[in-house]
């Protein structure tokens, strides 16, 4: 498998996640090669955030959507330089 290199992207975090990490920023720039690396980078800045977005299978949590270029991404989805990554909470509840 070809090793990917990091690319800088903008990340937008959801309100529900910001409630758990009040010191986190709603919008920030992160360098990562893929979505898994992006979650690692977020967890490094705000320990515990990674477990909120990625479960132990490992996979993006079932009710979290990480959107890149209008598509729902998985951990292996590569990140292109200059793209915007949206982390969304699913419209679930009751």
């Amino acid at each position: 498998m070809r090793e990917r290199s990091d690319s800088a992207c903008d990340v937008v975090l959801p309100d529900a996640l910001l409630r758990l990490f009040p010191q986190a920023k709603r919008r920030l720039t992160v360098s990562a090669a893929d979505v898994g690396g992006l979650i690692d980078a977020l967890d490094e800045r705000w320990p515990g955030m990674g477990a909120c977005l990625r479960d132990s299978r490992p996979a993006v949590r079932k009710h979290i959507s990480i959107m890149i270029d209008g598509e729902r991404a998985v951990l292996e989805t590569p990140i292109a330089s200059g793209t915007t990554v949206y982390v969304l909470t699913a419209v679930s509840g009751g």
Binding site: A16, L17, R19, L20, P47, G48, A51, C52, L53, D55, S56, R57, P58, R61, K62, H63, I64, T89, A90, S92, G93
Partner: protein, 360 residues
């Protein structure tokens, strides 16, 4: 010294905290806490005054919340709730027990975790899911959950857990190994001739009798039971009760012979209090005979249930008994169940009730 009686309530929409003095006549209520997450169990450590709340939401997974100031501020940790890669991940934290300096957490899908650093990080107790019966564990209506954790009060190596639907398991070596403790309990939903398996019983709740670690009481999907030998052999104590079905059990804080159940009308009849009339049933002779406690409880058109972790006692000399309904009403008795009052109502679905009594 005067006491503060703290009632800890886990609901579908967060943690609530009720407080009274020793008279337990006037109660204040505050909440919701824990960001209104679904909270399955809330406990308090009277030695430190710390409150722990177990839950999980669909977005961010399992968590244990902690407050050292009676709910004013909270921290949250989901660190370490990991199964092996490829397995279904931990969905939610379901049950808590603090003992011997450790915090145990039961989760869905059923498993046991332990924290040695007061709820900051959690480690999987892998031996339980390594039990040979594991492949036969199946979810009940509430999921495949580890809902009861009963530590031995004196021996830090001894612990009982209960899983729906798998049964009761016991460790005597600090969690290195677990053995099944289900003899005498019925799996009434199985075909004739297969109703007393080694595992697979749908146990709903187990509690320990006061001052007798070998005596446990059990509410099962089919029957109420007692054991006097740490679960080696259970005996039925349901004769005299209106049904074999219910969820919670509560042990009296001082008398090992006194126990409380809330029988419901049945597993496939709506799971309401029988005949629309609410009652807590008390035995003062270890389950030989039963009395219905109804004073102050609704006696017509009551169509609620009480979930498995939603009944508790306090530890005052005249024990207080408390339960919360799945319709959001919280009841309390300050005279061991003889009379009942409404402590709170219009709450979310109540999942759990526990108490913590601290110095005022």
């Amino acid at each position: 010294m005067a006491k503060r009686v703290i009632l800890l309530i886990g609901t579908k929409k967060g943690t609530f905290i009720a407080e009274s003095d020793e008279a337990r006549q006037e109660w204040s209520l505050k909440g919701p806490f824990c960001d209104a997450w679904p909270i399955n169990h809330v406990i308090g450590d009277a030695a430190t005054g710390t409150i722990y709340a177990a839950g999980g939401n669909e977005w961010f997974g399992p968590s244990v919340w902690k407050s050292a100031d009676l709910g004013e501020t909270w921290t949250r940790s989901g660190n370490g709730f990991n199964y092996a890669e490829g397995e279904d991940p931990v969905k939610s934290a379901w049950s808590l027990a603090k003992s011997h300096g450790r915090l145990h957490v039961g989760v869905e899908p059923a498993g046991l975790f332990v924290s040695g650093d007061d709820g900051e990080n959690f480690e999987h107790v892998e031996s339980l899911r390594a039990h040979p019966s594991r492949e036969t564990w199946v979810p009940g209506a509430g999921g495949l959950i580890l809902h009861s954790i009963v530590p031995h009060p004196d021996d830090p190596n001894e612990l009982w857990v209960a899983i729906s639907t798998a049964g009761v398991f016991h460790t005597a070596d600090g969690g290195k190994t677990f053995d099944a403790r289900n003899k005498g309990t019925r799996a009434g939903f199985m075909p004739e001739g297969m109703q007393y398996p080694e595992t697979g019983q749908c146990v709903h709740c187990i509690v320990m009798a006061a001052g007798r670690p070998d005596r446990l009481y059990q509410q099962n999907h089919t029957g109420m039971y007692r054991c006097d030998d740490g679960g080696e052999q259970w005996v039925s104590i349901e004769e005299g009760l209106p049904s074999e079905f219910g969820f919670p059990a509560a042990a009296h804080p001082h008398d090992a012979d006194t126990v409380y159940f809330i029988p419901l009308n049945g597993a496939i009849e709506g799971r309401f209090v029988p005949d629309g009339k609410a009652a807590v049933w008390r035995s003062r002779d270890a389950g030989a005979t039963w009395s219905a406690l109804r004073n102050g409880l609704p006696q017509e058109n009551a169509f609620f249930g009480v979930l498995r972790q939603a009944m508790a006692t306090d530890n005052l000399d005249q024990a207080g008994i408390y339960f919360g309904t799945n319709t959001g009403t919280l009841y309390g008795s300050r005279d061991e169940g003889d009379n009942w009052d409404v402590i709170g109502q219009h709450l979310p679905v109540i999942h759990s009730a526990e108490t913590m009594v601290i110095d005022a």
